[in-house]
Amino acid sequence: MKVLALLTTLVTGAVLLYGTMDFPAFGDPNSPAAQHLSAYFIKNAVPETHVPNVVTAVLGDYRGYDTMFETVVIYCAGLAVMGILRKKKKQD
């Protein structure tokens, strides 16, 4: 069992490393990830939302739909924990 787990882990790791061969180097300002969406956000977030913190602007507005569900996720977690553990109040 443990050997199988170790093998799976190694294979997964190897595949992931194989995938990184195509990646741009660490800290490369011309990587695709730095060019497409992020560039737009850095350039336009402040004029379009008047929020200096670009992360807040993207979080709250451009990707606000994600953040809404993120709030719902944590709300669900709180509720699920209550539902799973909460015992009935003792009569005292």
């Binding site: 929020v51 913190n53 507005d61």
Partner: protein, 159 residues
Amino acid sequence: MKLLQERTAKQKLGESLIIQTAVRMLVPFIQLFGLYVIVHGHYSPGGGFQGGVILGASFVVLSLAFDQKFSMHYMSEKTNGIFGNIGALIYTGTAALCAIMGGMFLDYSALDKLIPLGPIEWRSLGIFIVEVGVGLAVMSIMTALFWVLGSKGEMDEGL
């Protein structure tokens, strides 16, 4: 305060007096800092989640230094649950309100029809509103998670 004196007299509370006094003095400042992190999210690192967690931590600190009953004296379980619901409702309600006001879902600039401030300013304000909602929800859930997990679901003295 009276409750604290009574219970300290009964020697029921766990930690030492120094910790308790320090925590009692710290808690208002922790909460103030949490509020600052929420409302200052536009201009510095921060926002609803971070501030909410700090606010929640203030109650966690109370229940660690004293006990859980004591922290629930400041924020009852019921109030906490209502805060969580209201927080989540603020976000989703704002989103739906934008759609009802004639814009897209979550299009804060549509709220301009409600109070004319200019669409771009409304985007900034809309982000602020939802961040407050997130902050409330996260505070409530963090506190509730600690309470429930810390007391094995009994909501008594806890750890």
